[in-house]
Amino acid sequence: MSERLRIIEAVRETLREELERDDGVVVYGEDVASAGGVFRATQGLADDYPDRVFDTPVAEAGIIGTGVGLAATGMRPVPEIQFQSFLYQGFHQLAQHVARIRSRTRGTITCPMTIRMPYGGGIHALELHSESFEAGFAHIPGLQVVFPSSPAETKGLLTSAIRSPDPVVFMEPTRLYRSFREEVPDDHEIPLGEARVVEPGDDVTVIAWGSMLRETLDAVEDVDASVEVVDPRTLYPLDTETITESVKKTGRCVVVHEAPRTGGMAGEITSRVNEEAFLYLEAPVERVTGYDVPVPMFAREDAYLPDAERIEDGIRNALEFN
């Protein structure tokens, strides 16, 4: 029985179903239990699963590090990091252990952990509440990096993430948490590593994920061309095939992300498109991204974030290149 849900509700329902389905699942993080999370993503879960939903001290290295141990005992840790930037406090545990314990032990100890966290700007929050470091995470072998962009996508991807035998960095677009509802099917799994062609088109391919997908769909409405919009959904593994097939068809490509330009995932996608579809490319891969500046505080945040207008410009650049 499907329901019309917001992203935040889809997160909650998925967590509830996975807690129910698998009694190894443990949901924990700062303010996750008694308050139900600062965005209320986990509201009510502690009432129903008091033994597997926990408030933790303010200690992100501890949240990630203890997860490695929980996983070793056979549990499936699903920690929440309150905002993406605070994962940095536990970055060493992520890079040195979560990502590596499988290879360190030749597969004899694994870490099926799903680290949920809100990422990105657009809600006029405090400093360091708006970052998106996906490129850094995708650069760490052993991790999977997943971006839902709608309620149904959230359900399908989070379900797969929690059931995955390998760790997932699950980036939830803060500003879409409550922005719209969508029909969310029951029992919905979307395999990690499969991109989605959101809108088919022939003239240009636009690749966008998370909250930037919404901006892109807005932008596309105002562009006088046939635009194919691809949501990679997972940045590692990255569905190179769907992306390059699209570019082979359109010959032109735009990549959109919130993160600063230099070192962002647009570079990686450009490389893959070059490698697989070079002879089809009629224009350089266009990047529409955040600037190489720290996301400013909110009085200037809107100027930082790519929006429909900048995406339109990017699409036009790609279309007009000769």
Partner: protein, 357 residues
């Protein structure tokens, strides 16, 4: 050995003005009437700023705001004990301390308007800016206290953080390094019982937070954080000690009477009885009664102070709003590097900015 005690420790706790308004006269710090009134006025100023800020936020004029209501004594008392060239290293709820150290209220409001302007340190010293990552700032204060020592200066750094912050490894590293480097640093931990919704009992099994200092081999002491005279006294001693290379951690026992931030609703996780109990222990009321009893504060002075505070904050609000009208979005490109690197310059141009040079 075979089985012997190899080390012993204890934590002291200090109070000067008790909740029933009895006073330990021996412990009363020697402050002039003017100074006592200044303590009072700073607490009032801060309270009023927080109240106005919360309503401004409700009207959409400010972003997320973290009021310090209930914590005024802990902050004003400690900041008042600092000498002119000492450094303040705040986290994000330090309005009372910042005001006491001279930050103009319109700057605090601009910070809450999402403007970096509010975090400028015009002199380039004496303060670090507010910063959001919990527990990350005490290390900076150790660096400051160490740097001052290395340069044979006697200034200390006083840093502020919460009960929740003590769970972060950084805070422990800071305490430990302060001990090793003989850093001229005072750690003021405001134990306001909550980290957002999470009660202190869920942060640690330690019975006091001051005992975190034992792990670092430095002095830890508790003080009634709602007693501005006790805070002043204890932190003054701590600063003196730190000036001589012996860092101290002070746990100020207080209570966050209001919401965590304007995004928070405390009724989800705590009872109004608890809030009422702490309302009765309000630090401003307690000090006010003391001043009245000592005959320092009469109705007229009170009214003068309230009026002054009110008009100052009114002006600060106007000034903050006026500043907001003038901001240049392109500024975000200006302060990332000393010189804008070419890639950033290109982005800046695409943005529509024009290079200064």
């Amino acid at each position: 050995m075979p089985e012997e005690e190899s080390a012993q420790f204890s934590i002291e706790s200090v109070q000067v003005l008790s909740e029933d308004e009895s006073v330990d006269e021996e412990l009363v710090p020697s402050l002039s009437d003017e100074q006592l009134l200044e303590l009072y006025e700073q607490m009032k100023r801060s309270r009023r700023l927080d109240e106005r800020a919360v309503s401004l936020q409700r009207r959409g004029e400010l972003g997320t705001y973290a009021p310090a209501i209930g914590q005024e004594a802990a902050q004003v008392g400690s900041a008042f004990a600092m000498a002119e060239d000492d450094w303040i290293v705040p986290s994000f709820r330090e309005q009372p301390a910042l005001l006491t150290r001279g930050t103009p209220p319109h700057k605090i409001l601009q910070y809450a308007m999402g403007m970096e302007e509010g975090a400028e340190i015009p002199s380039g010293k004496g303060a670090l800016p507010p910063a959001i990552p919990v527990g990350s700032q005490p290390l900076h204060a150790v660096g400051v206290g160490w740097g001052e020592a290395l340069q044979d200066r006697s200034n200390v750094a006083v840093t502020y953080f919460g009960d929740g912050a003590t769970s972060e490894g950084d805070v422990y590293e800071a305490l430990n390094l302060a001990g090793v480097y003989d850093a001229q640093t005072v750690f003021v931990c405001q134990n306001n019982r909550y980290a957002i919704s999470t009660r202190l009992e869920k942060q640690t099994d330690a019975e006091t937070l001051a005992q975190k200092a034992i792990a670092a081999g430095i002095e830890g002491i508790q003080v009634d954080g709602n007693d501005v005279l006790a805070v002043y006294r204890v932190v003054q001693d701590a600063i003196e000690s730190a000036r001589n290379g012996d860092p101290v951690m002070v746990e100020a026992l207080t209570y966050r009477r209001s919401m965590h931030t304007t995004s928070d609703d405390p009724s989800v996780y705590r009872e109004s009885e608890e809030e009422a109990e702490w309302e009765a222990r309000d630090p401003i009321v307690r000090f006010q009664v003391y001043l009245e009893n000592r005959g320092i504060l009469d109705e007229e002075t009170k009214a003068t102070i309230e009026n002054r505070v009110e008009s100052e904050i009114g002006e600060a609000i106007d000034r903050a709003k006026a500043g907001r009208e003038e901001i240049d979005q392109a500024d975000m490109f200006e302060h990332v590097y000393d010189e804008m690197p070419p890639e950033l310059e290109r982005q800046f141009e695409a943005f529509g900015g024009e290079a200064d040079e």
